[in-house]
């Protein structure tokens, strides 16, 4: 009998959900725009990384032939500045003016000259050019100083006691990890929030439209009711997750990761791995949504509680992103913490150990059971039915 009832609840909830246009939008629109924003964002980041040899155009006031030659040699295009450089920058007419001496520099002169960079620091787009020109100016400074020292019979090393170099040892894949760090978060959020609209309708919705009381008068054990609702919510979440993974695969496939020397895997195997990893999360999410939903009197009330679920996957995300290389095997046993690493590795084509899937599934079981038990216990309280 209980199986028949379970099937009745599952069928009713699925049918009801599919007809619920509002909940369908809440479920299936976020994956679309999240993946879209992600694709645009990553595409832009790749574009910036790829444009190391960008053309810098600046405006120049005054004269300093050797310095001008040095800048031009280093691919800086020099345009004549307007008459009032400060005013022009302030008004936004031009972004960046380099003000040099007004008098021409006599050949062989050793008088100190000045170079003033006029820019508006609140203008974000100018920082790249300013940084590059500043670097070239310092380089020119030490070059000319070196020549002067050498002309006096001293070693140029004297004016450079500390030689500063930068060496970035991050491998391409690690760089990829940094860029792809957001993908596991996005997928986890899809799994966490996929069925929120449906689960709220199954719980707070029953309370709000006063259908919970007649429902509970039927001879159905509370656990059967909650289990039926939970199964329907999990199925709906998995549908959302599938859409999310599909869209993400398309985005990853078309984004030009190779331009920055990255290999991002969108093989069917990797995506299956991602789906399998997210299944336990969907189970946890649906159970938590039901228990939070049953405690809510109305849709509005439920929204307050559900925001808690959005924050959940962010905690492990920030832990892992701010501490790269923090990974340890026990992370697999903490829902969503191990996912950050495993999902990223899957995307980078590194695969995942079989143990990870077992750990994800086994660690989800107690969370789901406790949440469902709590929901079943709550649903028959007079305060919930009549509150």
């Amino acid at each position: 009998m209980w199986f028949k009832q379970l099937r009745a609840v599952w069928n009713k909830e699925l049918g009801d959900a599919v007809r619920d246009k509002r909940a369908m939008k809440i479920a299936f629109l976020p994956p679309v725009y999240m993946v879209l924003f992600f694709a645009v964002g990553i595409g832009f980041a790749i574009h910036l990384q790829n444009n190391e040899e960008r053309d810098i155009e600046i405006h120049l006031a005054g004269q300093d032939a050797p310095l001008e030659a040095w800048l031009t040699e280093n691919s800086i295009t020099l345009n004549p500045a307007p008459e009032d450089p400060y005013g022009a920058v302030e008004s936004g007419e031009v972004e960046f003016v380099l003000v040099l001496n007004t008098e021409p520099v006599a050949a062989g002169s050793k008088e100190p000259r000045s170079a003033t960079m006029v820019y508006n620091a609140s203008n974000q787009s100018v920082h790249g050019s300013v940084g590059e020109v500043r670097r070239l100016l310092y380089q020119y400074n030490s070059m000319e100083a070196g020549i002067n020292i050498l002309a006096r019979g001293l070693s140029p090393k004297l004016i450079n006691p500390v030689s500063v170099r930068e060496a970035n040892v991050a491998s391409d894949q690690q760089m990829g990890g940094l860029i792809l760090g957001g993908v596991p978060l996005l997928l986890l959020m899809c799994a966490m929030m996929g069925s929120v609209g449906f689960a709220v309708d199954m719980t707070a919705g029953e309370r709000e439209r006063h259908s919970l009381e007649p429902l509970l008068i039927n001879p159905v054990p509370s656990m059967t009711l909650i289990l039926g609702k939970w199964l329907a919510a999990v199925a709906l979440t998995l549908a959302v997750v599938l859409v999310c993974i599909l869209l993400m695969s398309i985005a990853l496939y078309f984004l030009p990761f190779d331009k920055i020397g990255l290999r991002v895997s969108v093989s069917a195997g990797a995506m299956l791995g991602v789906f399998l990893s997210l299944m336990p999360i969907a189970a946890i999410a649906a159970a938590l949504q039901l228990v939070l939903g049953i405690l809510s009197r109305s849709f509005k009330d439920a929204q307050t509680y559900m925001s808690f679920l959005i924050v959940l996957p962010m905690v492990p995300f920030f832990v892992v992103v701010t501490n790269p290389g923090i990974y340890e095997t026990w992370h697999l046993w903490v829902p969503m913490l191990g996912h950050q690493t495993v999902l990223r590795n899957l995307l980078l084509g590194e695969g995942a150990e079989f143990m990870a899937f077992i750990a994800f599934t086994v660690s989800a079981i107690p969370v789901v059971l406790i949440a469902l038990w709590l929901a079943a216990k709550q649903v028959r309280r007079a305060k919930i039915i009549y509150g």
Binding site: Q5, A8, G15, R19, P214, I217, P219, V220, A382
Partner: protein
């Protein structure tokens, strides 16, 4: 048979029901009368087991509602106060869902649903989503949903609320039919003529206590009044002034 034995219920300091006992036999229609807040709905909720009494027991065909809740509920068909429908399901789907939860098989569900749709004149709304139903249409659907599994005992909280004359008559006919099949009906109402015409017995509840019970004539006699309305007002007011 439904046996209600010495039921008391308090919410904090408020005593909603005080030592109420009654029996509802098979094949009888019993009307429950009371002013707003007298305790009718609380009593109903305790009978169908969603509210636990502070003291006392309720037995449905010998099954204790508190300890054998699911078996007891199999015998009950309940239209609670303000019952809500699933607005994205049609009237027929709303009825069938509860029938399935009652464990009926599909053939029986179709038969029983068709019959109720016919009796309650619901042909025009049967295949419509219940979103946008009028109060009367909602009541009819909720009523059909409550008794689709042909329960032995039927509890109805103001079942003719919001129904038009034609449908009210149909509901009355339905209740009489249930009675003739040997089922018991307990319904609460504010409509005196309805109770007078339909019920074998009347129970008047006031201030959480049963102040009168019996056949309509007996109640009139004990109150010394000519009409049920006068008797009801006199009994209810007496209790209210007594309580104050």
């Amino acid at each position: 048979m439904i046996e209600i034995e010495q039921i008391s219920k308090s919410f904090g300091k408020v005593q909603a029901l005080n030592n109420v006992s009654m029996t509802i036999g098979n094949g009888e229609i019993v009307g429950l009368l009371g002013l707003n807040g007298a305790g009718k709905t609380t009593l109903m909720r305790i009978i169908y087991g969603l509210l636990a009494p502070t003291v006392g027991t309720v037995k449905v065909d010998g099954l204790n509602v508190a300890t054998q809740a699911e078996q007891a509920r199999l015998q009950l068909g309940v239209l609670p106060d303000g019952a809500g429908l699933y607005k994205r399901l049609t009237a027929r789907e709303n009825i069938a869902y509860f029938a399935r939860l009652q464990g009926m098989n599909e053939a029986a569900i179709t038969d029983s649903t068709d019959q109720l749709i016919d009796i309650l004149r619901m042909d025009n709304i049967a295949e419509r989503y219940s979103d946008g139903f009028s109060l009367g249409e909602r009541m009819k659907t909720a009523l059909a949903r409550a008794i689709v599994h042909k329960p032995q005992h039927v509890l109805l909280d103001e079942p003719t609320n919001g129904l038009d004359v034609i449908t009210t008559r149909a509901v009355r006919a339905l209740l009489r039919q249930l009675k003739s099949e040997g089922r018991s009906v307990l319904f609460s109402s504010h409509l005196m003529y309805e109770v007078e015409n339909l019920c074998d017995r009347v129970l008047i509840i006031s201030g959480g206590q049963l102040v009168a019970g019996g056949r309509v004539e007996d109640v009139l006699h004990s109150a010394g009044c000519n009409s049920l309305e006068e008797a009801f007002v006199a009994l209810s007011q007496a209790e209210v002034s007594h309580v104050v």
